[in-house]
Amino acid sequence: MATPRFPLWEVFIRSRTGLAHRHVGSLHAVDATSALDAARDLFTRRNEGVSIWVVPSASLVASDPGDKAMMFDPASDKIYRHPTFYEVPDEVGHM
């Protein structure tokens, strides 16, 4: 029902302070306020989050699946870009 009156919104939830917002799904809503309400009611019923972002789906700019070869394949053989050649001291912990 993504009509002009009920546009689609993408929902991002931050589960804990310090973590990044993560995409969790989408919903239909008439305006930003009701999108935020609906996101709260749909996606945070079980303590999933402490912060919500809603973004009009129409505002997202996405890469074209047809450009996959050009966009992503060239990175696949650049193994030197992975930090696997370094010795990480134990004291550093999780990087």
Binding site: M1, F6, H28, V30, S34, A38, D41
Partner: protein
């Protein structure tokens, strides 16, 4: 648990608690009737969430009522084993849902009052009631925000949504005044600081309702608050049908569990 109805003590504190528990249970039941039928999936969940919040409030109050009464009644006994005349809820909450606009208008009128009421009850001299209020006050703040936003959206929306919101308000308005009055047996509780005097919330409630109605472009009816009696167990026909559905399983299969 036998299927026969329980008899209630006349203790004022017990009745004070049951009145508010019954409000929450009956409105929660009405809202749960929308489950699977709301105009959109998102609102279906929103109404069910509100219904569950209300059910949780009712449960906490019934549990405390059981302690106050001391007759061995638990939450289920109060919910399932009382006849309509022993239910003490507002007439407002038992009215049939009607359309979506009327349903929303009722949540708005009720929550605009209960938001003030629970705030006041957080300072109750009764520690248990104050603790229940501390949780409920967060829930009802959201119910009010959600419903008020819908009232504005409907009232200020299409000619049809405006007409439906206005009609819902006209139909429910005569029942709204019952919230604002206390029963004679509550005077001592109010004086002791256990209960909040709803009369003192009349002006702030009306102010809030007026503000939202103005934003929504709907007019408050000038009809008097003519309907009351629910607090004393005088209910309309709809209440019997509501309880028939709510109590069916326990009445038919006493002590059934799953």
């Amino acid at each position: 648990m036998p299927a026969t109805s329980i008899a209630l003590a006349t203790d004022p504190l017990l009745r004070f608690i049951l009145r508010r528990a019954d409000d929450a249970l009956v409105l929660g039941h009405r809202l749960s009737e929308w489950c699977g039928h709301a105009p959109m999936l998102e609102e279906d969940m929103a109404l069910a969430n509100i219904a569950l919040d209300l059910l949780g409030q009712a449960r906490a109050l019934y549990a405390y009522a059981g302690v106050v009464e001391g007759a061995g009644h638990d939450e289920d006994a109060y919910a399932y084993l009382r006849d309509p005349a022993d239910y003490l809820n507002l007439l407002l909450v038992e009215q049939p849902n009607g359309d979506f606009a009327r349903t929303i208008v009722r949540v708005w009128l009720y929550s605009a009052f209960m938001d003030l009421w629970w705030q006041r009850m957080t300072a109750s001299k009764d520690a248990q009631l104050a603790a229940i209020a501390a949780r409920a006050v967060k829930e009802v703040a959201y119910h009010l925000r959600h419903a008020a936003a819908w009232v504005v959206r409907l009232g200020d929306g299409t000619p049809e949504s405006h007409q439906r919101a206005q009609a819902g308000l006209a139909l429910l308005w005569p029942y709204a005044g019952e919230m604002l009055t206390s029963e004679p047996d509550e005077a001592a509780l109010i004086a002791a600081g256990v209960a909040c005097d709803p009369e003192t919330l009349r002006a702030p409630w009306l102010g809030r309702v007026k503000a939202v109605a103005a934003e929504a472009g709907i007019s408050l009816p000038t009809t008097p608050f003519s309907q009351q009696g629910g607090r004393r167990g005088h209910h309309g026909e709809a209440m019997g049908h509501l309880l028939a559905e709510l109590q069916y399983m326990q009445r038919t299969y006493p002590a059934a569990q799953w």
